[in-house]
């Protein structure tokens, strides 16, 4: 059984450099060596723009014969790695993240927590073009407690994937959100 890599750009504006970095020949060869045979790229909500961007990235890969993509290919079993692009979908966590061996995510809180709560190996890529954002702060804080690895530059992605593959990561543990209910009870 090969492994599944899930890439998510969240439910907000398309994080193009992340899509481009994962649809890069060197990166794909790298993950095949690590035993991955399937990659799902959730390219965002801005369909059709994000879909178009995804397809353009795929088109540039066309000469890589051993990579099968869901664009017009039917005999996927002949390939070493199958890449599949999907738009944002509310069932995404259930359908994909749950099955993933590794998640590569943008720095959104929601996507980070979805992966960590399911105890998935996680590499977070920070979107530098977002001004005044807390993504780096959250990623750093989580990386300090050893539950994820983050890349502040997309070019470090493959290196960070190797790092997370070779490290035993700490677990975030279950949410203590029920505490808010207790606090309310104390106040009533």
């Amino acid at each position: 059984m090969g492994k599944l890599l899930v890439v998510t750009t969240g439910a907000t504006a398309t994080f193009r450099p992340l899509i481009a970095a994962t649809l890069d020949a060197k990166f794909l060869r790298g993950i095949v060596k690590l035993g991955y045979n399937r990659m799902v790229v959730q390219y965002g909500t801005e369909v059709p723009i994000s879909r178009q961007f995804y397809e353009n990235c795929v088109a540039q890969l066309a000469e890589l014969k051993y990579i099968g993509v869901d664009v017009g290919s039917s005999r996927l079993e002949h390939y070493k790695l199958v890449v599949e692009g999907i738009p944002y979908d509310p069932q995404f966590v259930e359908r994909f993240v749950k099955l993933a061996d590794l998640v590569v995510s943008h720095g959104g809180t929601g996507s980070i927590l979805d992966a960590l709560r399911l105890e998935k190996k996680l590499v977070v890529v920070i979107n530098e073009s977002l001004m005044d954002n807390h993504q780096l702060e959250i990623a750093e804080a989580f990386s300090n407690i050893g539950v994820l690895v983050y890349a502040s530059d997309v070019n470090e992605l493959l290196e960070k994937v190797h790092e997370v593959e070779n490290t035993t990561m700490a677990k975030l543990g279950p949410s203590v959100g029920g505490m808010v209910e207790k606090v309310i009870l104390q106040e009533l």
Binding site: V176, G177, E187, L188
Partner: protein, 230 residues
């Protein structure tokens, strides 16, 4: 009555009123009488039926965290609560997400929704932002004055800016004896090293203030830390 007596009377009345206001503030401000010992809550305890809660859904990330927090409540408590959600106009996503959660509850149909004019849009000039914030605040006041039964037992907030006027208004009602709302504020997971501006503004009024990173509980008085809540 000569001029001096008049001044003395006015001064005394002003002082007296001032004293009453200060005493009332001291009586009402949680930061004055705060005690760190809390009553213990049994695992089986549930929020009693009919408890009124007002929940602000700030937008994207704030709404996301709030929904995750509510998702950790016991189903019984969620169904017992009489909920009023406050959402900004145009924030269809928050409305959609919370309605999805409400649909899973038997009590869903009694839930109320207040749609406030948006306080500030991204990229807006500061003048029009000021104007819109004022408009949004006046609308909030009007909504409450039109229906005092809206004043909740618990006000649950997790930012952003819109939370500030709402908290101050509800606290003002408490100050003049309308309602006895307990304000519970949860700081966003994104705040790792410093409290948000909204958080700093609300901290003195909040009966309970929960942070999600330990450092904040060390750095600020009265901040409670239990772990990641979302």
């Amino acid at each position: 009555m000569d001029c001096d007596t008049e001044i003395t009377v006015i001064a005394s009345v002003t002082l007296l009123i001032g004293l009453v206001v200060v005493l009332r503030l001291i009586y009402c401000l949680p930061c004055v009488y705060y005690s760190s010992t809390k009553r213990t809550i049994d695992e089986a305890m549930r929020i009693p039926k009919g408890t009124k809660i007002m929940i602000l859904l700030g937008s994207g990330g704030h709404t996301g965290e709030m929904i995750r927090i509510l998702g950790q409540f016991s189903n019984d408590s969620l169904e017992n609560l009489e909920k009023t959600y406050v959402v900004s106009s145009g924030d269809e996503t928050s409305l959609l997400r919370i309605k999805q959660l409400e649909e899973t509850l038997r009590s869903g149909k009694d839930t109320r929704y207040i749609i406030l004019p948006r306080a500030r849009s991204v990229g807006e000039s500061s003048f029009s932002a000021l104007f819109n914030t004022l408009k949004s605040f006046l609308y909030t006041v009007r909504t409450f004055v039109g229906d005092f039964s809206l004043i909740p037992d618990v006000l649950l907030l997790n930012g952003p800016g819109t939370a500030v006027p709402l908290a101050y208004l509800v606290f003002f009602f408490k100050l003049i004896g309308l309602g006895h709302t307990r304000i519970v504020y949860v700081e966003s997971l994104a705040r790792v090293n410093n409290l948000s501006i909204s958080g700093k503004c609300i901290l003195p009024l909040a009966d309970r203030f929960i942070v999600q990173w330990e450092k904040l509980a060390h750095d600020y008085n009265r901040c409670e830390y239990y772990g990641v809540l979302v």
